[in-house]
Symmetry: C2
Subunit: 219 residues, 2 copies
């Protein structure tokens, strides 16, 4: 496939947008990145995603697709070249979808509560620690959730590898460390060391500055 | 494939469990139904779904899969015979997943608020009316969301065709009628008339009795 229009509307601070860029790089698909200001979203973004009004919006030859997990499945089904995002076996595919949903519902909910409470929601802190233990257990002794190379669950879990890490530094709390979750911590180091990840995710310092610039400036 | 063990752990009142049974019937797959009492879940259910502790649990040759949308994708990928649940085209598949998620997040949230408030949450009532208008618009002039025959979005939307209908009757409110949403209402009649749906969904009266037996007995 050549002469295709592939655009990603996203923002530096969006973990969900970065997922789409990582998937496109895994497939070797060139794309145009359209930077959105999430406090003042573009008319184009709102036109393409009138229901959720969120990034990422993925545009392929003029047709929009929204919601990061839906986009990742689309990319995997459309570009057969490059690395697979989901496994081939139906049972393993189901397991990957389950864990991706687990991170996007339970882990994200707890993380959001912690961020909004400035780290003072003890129940959420405790819950997140337990959820990470469940993921650590699921990882077993694999290098990645996808096995020897990254796949759907790893891409979705960058919410843990980078965003959680930044949030706990910004708030001065410790939920996820080498001591609390040794296997998952090792995973996060391996993940952040992948060349595609390094070239796609924003610098830690920029993300830290972004998340703690306004709401936490006076803390 | 023969001599397979296919079990569905579910309950009469679970829309999510019924989805799995409908999908299996579309594929012509025989299965054993294990009836769960949701107020006293079995040890087997909790063993197979330790994280969410919910129905449905789908068991295929001893291996459990949970979450109805994950199970529906698994069934479609595993049994190629019978009717397709998702479309073949990647863009249409993405659209189906989007609308299934829309129903399971926004529509379900509003419906839950209405049920819990005994119909007194006016904001939720208004919101649900608007969400149904969005679905009505998406249906266009098709017979089903899946086109000429039912597919993923139709199966997921039985939350509207039967459950919403029962809840509004039980509460004595009118959100979804032939007047408010004529195309979607016609869809719900067509859907409820499909032979597979008729033989799978519980009788309206049983569902009504179940949902309004305890909490609303004194209303």
């Amino acid at each position: 496939m050549t002469n295709q229009e592939v655009k990603v509307f996203s923002a530096m601070e969006s973990s969900f947008g970065k997922r789409v860029e990582i998937a496109l790089k895994m497939k070797g698909v060139e794309y145009e990145h359209v930077a959105e200001d999430l406090s003042n979203k573009s008319a184009e973004l709102l036109m393409y995603n009138p229901i959720h009004k969120k990034v990422p919006v993925f545009l392929h030859n003029g047709r929009p697709i929204v919601e990061s997990l839906v986009i990742l499945e689309y990319i995997d089904e459309t570009w057969k070249s490059g690395k697979s995002i989901l496994p081939k076996d139906p049972y393993e595919r189901a397991a990957s979808r389950f864990w991706a949903n687990f991170i996007d519902s339970k882990v994200l909910d707890a993380l959001t509560k912690i961020y909004r409470s400035k780290g003072e929601d003890q129940d959420a802190t405790e819950e997140l620690g337990e959820l990470l233990s469940i993921l650590e257990n699921e990882l077993k002794d694999q290098k990645f959730f996808g096995g020897e190379s990254i796949g759907l669950v790893d891409i979705v879990a960058d919410l843990i590898a980078l965003w959680l890490d930044v949030i706990q530094e910004g708030l001065g709390i410790e939920i996820f460390t080498q001591q609390t979750h040794p296997k998952l911590f090792k995973w996060s180091e391996e993940y952040m060391n992948c060349s595609i990840i390094k070239e796609t995710l924003p610098p830690r310092a920029d993300l830290l500055a972004h998340y703690f610039r306004s709401a936490y400036a006076s803390k």
